[in-house]
């Protein structure tokens, strides 16, 4: 694993050190089985979802509703809350726990209306100078007729553009599935974290297998090939740090998972404190512009 160089040019040395520490802790390169276990844990039906974390991490939570145009998308949650006494704006995809809620929240797959709700929350954060926390947990943006007609691609693009313009500190954490454009739409942030058993990928293992192997059942093989696990994402410079989960996975102990997540978020926000808004923005763009491998 060490033969792949650390990417992501725009980092500070303190961050590099932390990266190194995390890489050391991870130790051996994840096996194909480890990767597939992450895929399964990331989708585990008892894994904590955005609102499970909200209720454990934030005080005075007030949920925002609606995109001020067409509707209120249940797959995207946005609101204000206090993290250790500091007001933050939080957005995140939300899957459902039971079948009614899953239907109401489209299994965590937002329509354009969901991304517009998130953008409205970003604007509020910018106006009132609140940091933004973004929790990513989606198989992808909703792939339906109305979603396309309402401009799914454009909404995802503009949500990222909005995030690239913010001058307040922003932190994202992938807490389950970080699926493709639907995920990155809310993850263009100063710091990008990922839970130990979360996955972050450009396509689902099943989708990749269906296209490249001509067989969706080859999903495990596909996952091993494109490596959506946290360790590889860290190594590629796509994320800045891995958030530990309770032994056995976040689903085994929601309270403990929330405490660990809150600690990482707090740490990231503390690091960003005191940096001027335009400098934050400059570094944020430089960070993402440095991603890629070519010769």
């Amino acid at each position: 694993m060490k033969n792949v160089s650390l990417l992501g040019g725009a980092r500070l040395s303190g961050e590099l050190e932390r990266l190194q520490r995390q890489l050391d802790r991870i130790g051996a390169e994840p096996t194909d089985e480890d990767i597939w276990r992450s895929v399964q844990l990331a989708r585990h039906e008892n894994r904590p979802y955005t609102l499970d974390y909200v209720e454990r991490m934030l005080d005075d939570w007030f949920e925002l509703h609606g995109d001020r145009a067409d509707g209120d998308d249940g797959a995207m949650v946005a609101g204000l809350g206090k993290l250790d006494g500091r007001t933050v704006v939080l957005v995140g995809q939300q899957k459902g726990r039971d079948i009614q809620e899953r239907t109401r929240r489209q299994f965590g797959m937002p329509y354009p209306e969901g991304y517009k709700k998130a953008m409205r929350a970003f604007e509020l954060a910018e106006r009132l100078r609140f940091p933004v926390i973004s929790l990513v947990d989606t198989p992808g943006a909703y792939p339906g007729v109305a979603a396309e007609q309402h401009g799914q691609g454009g909404a995802i693009a503009r949500s990222q553009a909005e995030m690239a313009r913010l001058t307040v500190p922003t932190v994202a954490c992938v807490i389950g599935e970080g699926g493709s454009g639907g995920a990155i739409a809310i993850a263009l942030t100063d710091r990008v974290l990922m839970q130990e058993n979360a996955i972050y990928s450009v396509i689902s293992p099943e989708g990749c297998a269906a296209i490249l192997w001509r067989d969706a059942a080859q999903a495990q093989k596909a996952a091993a090939a494109f490596k959506p696990d946290a360790a590889h994402c860290l190594e590629l410079g796509v994320i800045d740090a891995i958030v530990p989960e309770p032994e056995g996975g976040a689903h085994t102990d929601h309270d403990r998972a929330a405490a660990l997540l809150a600690e990482s978020l707090r740490e990231s926000l503390d690091e960003l404190d005191g940096t001027a808004g335009d400098e934050l923005r400059r570094r944020r763009r430089a960070r993402f512009r440095s991603l890629g491998v070519f010769a």
């Binding site: 039906e45 943006a141 792939p143 007729v145 739409a185 099943e206």
Partner: protein, 280 residues
Amino acid sequence: MTVSKIDVSIETNDKPAPPPKHPNTCPRCHSHYRDDELEAALWLCAQCGHHFPMRARARVASLADPGSFSEEAADLHSEDPLQFFDLRPYTERIAEAEMSTGLADAIVIGQATVDGRQAELAVMDFAFMGGSMGSVVGEKFSRACDSAAERGVPLVTVTSSGGARMQEGILSLMQLPKTVCAVEDLHDAGQAMVVVMAHPTTAGVLASFASLGDILLAEPGALIAFTGPRVVQQTTREKLPEDFGLAEQNLRFGHLDAIVPRDELRPTISRLLRLFDAPV
């Protein structure tokens, strides 16, 4: 355990529809053409106006003043960060695409003048691995933004892409925020971007820089969708409208400024460069 059946990626990626018997047969009216006939006609069907796919270099030649194009970053090549191997190694797929297209990747960028006005061009080529967006596409598009910003000229982008370069894994997804940030830097420098969406403009490219043009144009009949019709149909079992995802539907739903036939693109872009006060 919820296993998602949703595939939000790109149905056309690396797997274009099987070509008709003869590649120069119009799929709409079945007219046949010789290569030189099509080339002389901007790859438009003389009978029905169908827009055949157009290669990046031909596109550049059709837009730029003769001899004005000066290519940039032509030597950038993909690496294989994941040592990706599906039915074949990624390196082999790239080598094959290079051979068959004569390009180093799915985008060509450079400086040019259009009717005497300076612009930066960034033109994608679907023939190179379905126009999929890997690190090289992201980097070259971003450099085009910087070149336009530094020289104080507008950027004209022609898109054609099936979506992500799966073989680069998560780094392929990272080309979305990367190119978005590049467009924001271009805009902060006060420069405009015109986007021409050619068939197909889908998935990651649509969900990043393609949608951020100050002016959004499309060629007639182009598929413009985040998720294409086949995946929508398979996933949701919804009945699809007749022109689902086509440029015409996108215009009706407010996502485009205009649909411009290929033979009117050059004068349209010329007019826009005048409006943007592009330097002479």
